[in-house]
Symmetry: D2
Subunit: 148 residues, 4 copies
DNA sequence: TTTT
DNA sequence: TTTT
């Protein structure tokens, strides 16, 4: 039966992409994305809850991720849930879930703290001059196919 | 930073709900939902790929799940990704991901095989007389609040 | 600025598709889809609210719609909002909004009322033998590319 | 039949909110949101396509919109399609479609053009000091319920 | 472990 | 005009 498996995330990157160039021109990028929700508990105190997502991008998208995505940037992502299952050395069934990204849109990053000491973490600080803001669909994306 | 963490699934239940009644009127239901995608590979052969999702419902929704959901039924689900992290006995960091259901809609099940031998698995067979078709939002849902 | 314009619908077809074959192998299909929500008002009465959506499909998808979709069928749809604007004869600005379908999944229809008099409306009655249940993505979809 | 009618938008406000305070503490805010997609046509030229959406927010959300939303701001929106139908003076059936907002998240705005002449349009220019970044759900939202 |  |  045909089904639907769709994930929509909007959050910030916890680190620069980890990119591996495989044989045969294949490229895979792994990202850590944090989505935070805030609410007030019964006592009226503001509570923050952060969920970390493991994202996986392939080929054309992985190359764009490698080139443009940086720790701290804000990202809108569409994808699907994909899990690996295996047996560990103890013979236990194990499962790891990640998000296979199908398209993403760069939204910006944390604001530039003008005047304050710059961190040296390499994190993206929102200078939009150097970042193309675009949507990156899946598919055989040569750089020539990019809309920017 | 406020973010978005949204999951949309449409698939079939692999088993009847597992429901636990906890102290203080709390109820939790766990479901296994399969989403299947079909495509043709390069050789033109039809390939099927099934992803299994662990769903978690609480309280009012859990009670409805307990009452109406059955193995084999088709479900539309909205929710969010939620993971538990812990250390196992070996001291390894472990993570388990599930879908916290925020609303769901019962769509039906596999059609009643009239004339063919009925399975005795207790699986739902699509007899719509006994199933209310409705959308079940989150919240303090007494049975009185249900729209059917 | 790259943005997101996404619509997700799950409802029933109010009529058979209206299909036009245009010059140059172009095909367009128009569908009417009803999405119904039910709730209880303050007095506790069950209220139903139906929204009608104008869907537009092109080419490969339009051909599949023409071949398989029927009045009454239940459909899951992903697409985007697209509006036409023009001036009418009185010089008033007019706007018409429709959903450009990017993918859809056939879910079934109202159950076959075995034994009861069949309506002669040509409406789909859920006999799954004749209907492939599949997801239909956008793109240059020859029938050969279909996963069923 | 319970259905799904869901819209997800990410775009920029074309104008400040238009807010009307009605009798009985009811408030309604209307917003114009632009979603832009960019692609390359067959000749390889970059093409931009902007869709304008009419958003409607009520009560608690409308009050927050009135207080914080400004022309130019970037917004993530979830809602549903809602159309009004009526007959005009000529007796023609007319239909107007809008998005009833169920939750939204403020993402920022167009970057502050430091050094360049400021426009006097009252548009939001991304100074994050004065803007709480949060998600605003539907419901009876007193200011006290806001998570910021 | 579901469904077609 | 659909569906329950």
């Amino acid at each position: 039966m045909a089904g639907v498996n769709k994930v929509i995330l909007l959050g910030n990157l916890g680190a620069d992409p980890e990119v591996k160039h495989l044989e045969g021109d294949k490229v895979v990028a792994n990202l850590r994305l944090a989505t935070t929700e805030a609410y007030k508990d019964k006592s009226g105190n503001r509570v923050e809850n952060t969920e970390w997502h493991d994202l996986e991008l392939w080929d054309g998208q992985a190359r764009i991720a490698e080139q443009y995505l940086k720790k701290g940037m804000q990202l809108y992502v569409e994808g699907k849930i994909k899990s690996d299952t295996w047996q560990d050395e103890q013979g236990n069934n194990r499962k790891r879930t990640k998000i296979r990204v199908l398209s993403f849109t760069m939204l910006g990053g944390r604001p530039d703290n003008a005047g304050s000491p710059q961190s040296n973490t390499g994190a993206y600080t929102g200078s939009t001059q150097s970042m193309p803001s675009t949507s990156v669909p899946a598919g055989p994306a040569d750089d020539d196919d990019l809309p920017f």
